[in-house]
C-alpha cells in the first residue's frame, strides 16, 4: 500500500479500534452541533408543520410537490453510492474497495433513513402513513399496488433491509475483533453483535458465499430503486417530467452524487481518523475517474432530455423547457450545469484527481449541483402544466428550508454515531489485502 512498507495485522487493529473508543473534543463539538441542528432544524419545524398542516410549507395550487420531494430524491440518490459501489466492486474483486466500502455503505444506510424521513415530512396526514403498508385489516382495504408511490414503498423498504443486512454481515468479523479487544459490558454487547463469531474456516466460507449473494441481489435492486423514484415523476403526464429517459437519468445521477459523497466522506475519515496508510491517492484517483465517467454520462442524458423536450415542439414541453432554462430558477439551472457538467471535466488531469483537498471541493460542488437538479425537477415543472390560467409559482418557505438544513444534520448525527459503533474501516478485509504471514515469507 503506502511506500512506508506494509502495516502488520496488529497495526491494522491498532489503527481502527482506537477510532471507536477515543472521543476527541473535536468529535464532541461536531456531535453536539449536529444534534442541536437536527432537533431545532428538523424535528421542531416538522412538529410545527404537523400541528398547523402542510400549509406551513411553501407548496400551493399547481405546485403540490416541493422541496421535500426534491430532497427525497437527493437522499435516495446519495444512498446509491455505498451499497451499489461496494457490491459492484466486490463482484469485480477490486481490492481497493476494501478500505472504504464500510463507510460508503454506512452512507447508503443513513441517507436512506433520511430519505424515508422526507416521505413522512411530505405527507399531509402522517398519522395514517401505515395505510401504505399491506397490513390485513377488517375493512379488507389494501394499498393500491398500481400506484407508483406503492412501488416506492416496496422498493425503499427492500433497499433499506437489504443494505442494512449487507453492511451488518460485512462487519460481523470485525465485531468479533472488537469483542476480543474490549472488556466488561462493551465486550458482552459486541459478543452478542458478532453472534459469537470465531473465524473458523466454515464460518468464513459461508460468509463469503452469503456476502456474494447479497452483492448479487443488491445490484439490480439499487438500480430498480432509483428508477422507481424516477417513475413517481415520469409516470405523471406533467410536461418536463413525462420522459422515458428519466429512469436512467435518475440512476446515473444517483450514482454520480453518491460517488461524490464517498469522496467527501473518505477525505474526512482519512484526515481525522488518520487512515493515511489505507486510504491513499489510489482511491481518490479511481473514484476521480469514476466521477468523470459518470459526469459525462449525466451531461449526455441531460442534453438528451432537454433536446427531446424541445424537439417535441408541443406547447407544453416548450413552455416547461423555457421556464426551466430561462425562467425564475434559471440561475440555479446554469449553476447545476456548471457544477455537474463542466467542473468534473478537470478530473481529466491525474494531478487533480490525486489532490485530496481539490477532490474534496469538487465532490462537494458536484453534490450541490445534484441537489439543485433535484430541486429544479419539482420546482420548475408543476407551475407550468397544461392550463395557462392555472400557471403559478413555487418558493420554499422557511419551514422547508429549515427542514432541508436539518436533514443534513440528521445524516451527520447518524454517521457520527456510526463511527463509534462500527469499525469505520473493515479490518479483516484490509488484512486480506496485506500478504499472508507465512514462515517462507518470514524467512526471506
Amino acid at each position: 500500500m503506502s511506500e512506508r512498507g506494509q502495516p502488520s495485522y496488529q497495526e491494522v487493529n491498532d489503527a481502527v479500534l482506537p477510532t471507536m473508543t477515543t472521543f476527541t473534543w473535536r468529535y464532541w463539538t461536531a456531535l453536539s452541533i449536529s444534534v442541536t441542528v437536527m432537533i431545532f432544524g428538523f424535528f421542531a419545524p416538522w412538529w410545527y408543520q404537523l400541528f398547523v398542516g402542510v400549509g406551513a410549507a411553501g407548496m400551493s395550487r399547481a405546485a403540490y410537490w416541493g422541496t421535500y420531494l426534491g430532497n427525497f430524491i437527493f437522499w435516495i440518490g446519495l444512498s446509491h453510492s455505498g451499497t451499489l459501489l461496494s457490491a459492484v466492486l466486490h463482484i469485480t474483486q477490486s481490492d481497493w474497495r476494501k478500505s472504504i466500502y464500510r463507510s460508503a455503505e454506512a452512507m447508503t444506510l443513513f441517507s436512506l433513513i433520511t430519505a424515508a424521513f422526507y416521505v413522512m415530512v411530505h405527507l399531509g396526514r402522517l398519522w395514517f402513513v401505515h395505510w401504505t403498508v399491506p397490513i390485513p385489516n377488517v375493512m379488507g382495504l389494501w394499498p393500491n399496488f398500481r400506484s407508483p408511490l406503492m412501488f416506492d414503498v416496496m422498493a425503499i423498504t427492500t433497499y433499506l433491509t437489504a443494505s442494512s443486512i449487507f453492511i451488518y454481515m460485512g462487519s460481523v468479523p470485525d465485531f468479533a475483533t472488537v469483542r476480543d479487544n474490549a472488556t466488561g459490558l462493551r465486550r458482552k454487547i459486541y459478543a452478542i453483535m458478532c453472534f459469537g463469531w470465531r473465524g473458523t474456516d466454515r464460518e468464513w466460507h459461508r460468509l463469503g458465499w452469503a456476502y456474494t449473494f447479497f452483492a448479487v441481489l443488491v445490484i439490480p435492486l439499487a438500480v430498480s430503486v432509483h428508477s422507481i423514484v424516477s417513475w413517481d415523476f415520469a409516470l405523471s403526464i406533467v410536461p418536463g417530467l413525462h420522459h422515458t429517459i428519466f429512469a436512467p437519468y435518475f440512476v446515473c445521477g444517483a450514482i454520480f452524487s453518491g460517488t461524490a459523497g464517498i469522496v467527501t466522506v473518505m477525505y474526512f475519515l482519512r484526515k481525522y481518523f488518520h487512515f493515511e496508510r489505507y486510504i491513499t491517492e489510489k482511491h481518490f484517483n479511481n473514484l476521480g475517474k469514476l466521477l468523470l465517467l459518470l459526469s459525462l454520462i449525466w451531461s449526455y442524458i441531460n442534453m438528451l432530455e432537454l433536446f427531446t423536450g424541445w424537439f417535441s415542439g408541443s406547447s407544453f414541453e416548450i413552455e416547461a423547457l423555457r421556464f426551466k432554462l430561462f425562467g425564475f430558477y434559471a440561475p440555479l439551472f446554469w449553476e447545476m450545469i456548471a457544477f455537474c457538467a463542466f467542473l468534473p471535466l478537470v478530473l481529466f488531469s491525474e494531478k487533480i484527481r490525486t489532490n485530496f483537498r481539490l477532490m474534496l471541493w469538487i465532490s462537494i460542488a458536484i453534490n450541490i449541483g445534484m441537489f439543485t437538479e433535484r430541486f429544479l425537477i419539482v420546482a420548475t415543472t408543476q407551475p407550468r402544466k397544461f392550463l395557462p390560467d392555472a400557471f403559478s409559482f413555487y418558493m420554499p418557505s422557511l419551514v422547508e428550508i429549515a427542514i432541508t438544513i436539518g436533514s443534513f444534520a440528521v445524516f451527520t448525527t447518524l454517521f457520527l454515531v456510526f463511527v463509534k459503533v462500527f469499525p469505520s474501516m473493515s479490518m479483516y478485509e484490509v488484512k486480506e489485502t496485506l500478504n499472508l504471514p507465512t514462515r517462507k515469507g518470514a524467512r526471506t
Binding site: S8, Y9, Q10, N13, P134, G140, W142, N144, F145, R146, S147, M150, F151, M154, A155, T157, T158, T161, A162, I165, M169, P173, A176, T177, D180, N181, F195, G196, W197, R198, G199, T200, D201, R202, E203, W204, H205, R206, L207, G208, W209, A210, F213, F214, L217, V218, L221, S224, I228, Y428, E429, K431, E432, L436, P437, T438, R439, K440, G441, A442
Partner: protein, 167 residues
C-alpha cells in the same frame, strides 16, 4: 469424555501443514480459526458443501410468487378500479413482484447463512482472542487418550503453544 485442543500458530502455512497432518492421522473434528478467510483450506480438509444457494433460490421464488399474489389478491378482494386500467395489470405488479423477490431472497440468504454456519453461538466455543488479531489457530476435538498425540502433531507443525480448553 472428550478433549478440545487448540494450537496457536503465527504463520498460515504452518497452520495448513498442521491441519494436513492431523487429518492424515485420522482426526475429523478439525476447525481452523483465522483473522481472515484462508485460501486453500479445501485442499487440506476437503471440499465444503453449503445449502446457502438453495435458501437464496427458495426465498427468491417464494418472494416472487408471494409478491405477485399479494398485489393481485389485494386488488380483487376490494375492487377499486382506477384510470381505466385492468384490476390486475402486468407492469405495476411485476415491479412489486421484483421487489419482493429481492426482499425475501435477501432474508432467506441471511437465514441460510446462520443455519449453515451454525451461528449464532451463544455459549463459548473453543477460541482464543488472538485469532481475531494476528494469530492462526486449529481446534481438534478428540478422545482423552488421543490428546497427547494431537498436541505432539501440532507442536511438530510449529505451533507457538498448545492449549486444552474445556467446553
Amino acid at each position: 469424555m472428550s478433549a478440545n485442543i487448540i494450537g496457536v500458530y503465527q504463520y498460515a502455512d504452518d497452520l495448513l501443514d498442521a491441519a494436513g497432518r492431523l487429518k492424515a492421522s485420522g482426526f475429523d473434528e478439525i476447525e481452523l480459526m483465522s483473522p481472515i478467510p484462508l485460501h486453500g483450506v479445501e485442499k487440506v480438509l476437503g471440499p465444503k458443501k453449503s445449502v446457502l444457494r438453495r435458501f437464496a433460490l427458495f426465498g427468491a421464488i417464494v418472494g416472487g410468487v408471494g409478491g405477485f399474489l399479494m398485489a393481485a389478491l389485494s386488488a380483487i378482494v376490494f375492487i377499486l378500479p382506477t384510470s381505466g386500467r385492468p384490476i390486475v395489470p402486468w407492469p405495476p405488479f411485476l415491479i412489486i413482484t421484483f421487489e419482493t423477490t429481492i426482499l425475501l431472497g435477501t432474508l432467506a440468504t441471511l437465514i441460510g447463512f446462520f443455519f449453515s454456519a451454525n451461528l449464532p453461538a451463544w455459549k463459548d466455543r473453543p477460541y482464543l482472542p488472538a485469532f481475531s488479531d494476528n494469530r492462526f489457530g486449529v481446534h481438534v476435538g478428540c478422545d482423552e487418550d488421543a490428546a497427547e498425540k494431537v498436541e505432539k502433531i501440532m507442536l511438530d507443525a510449529g505451533a507457538e503453544k498448545v492449549e486444552r480448553v474445556k467446553t
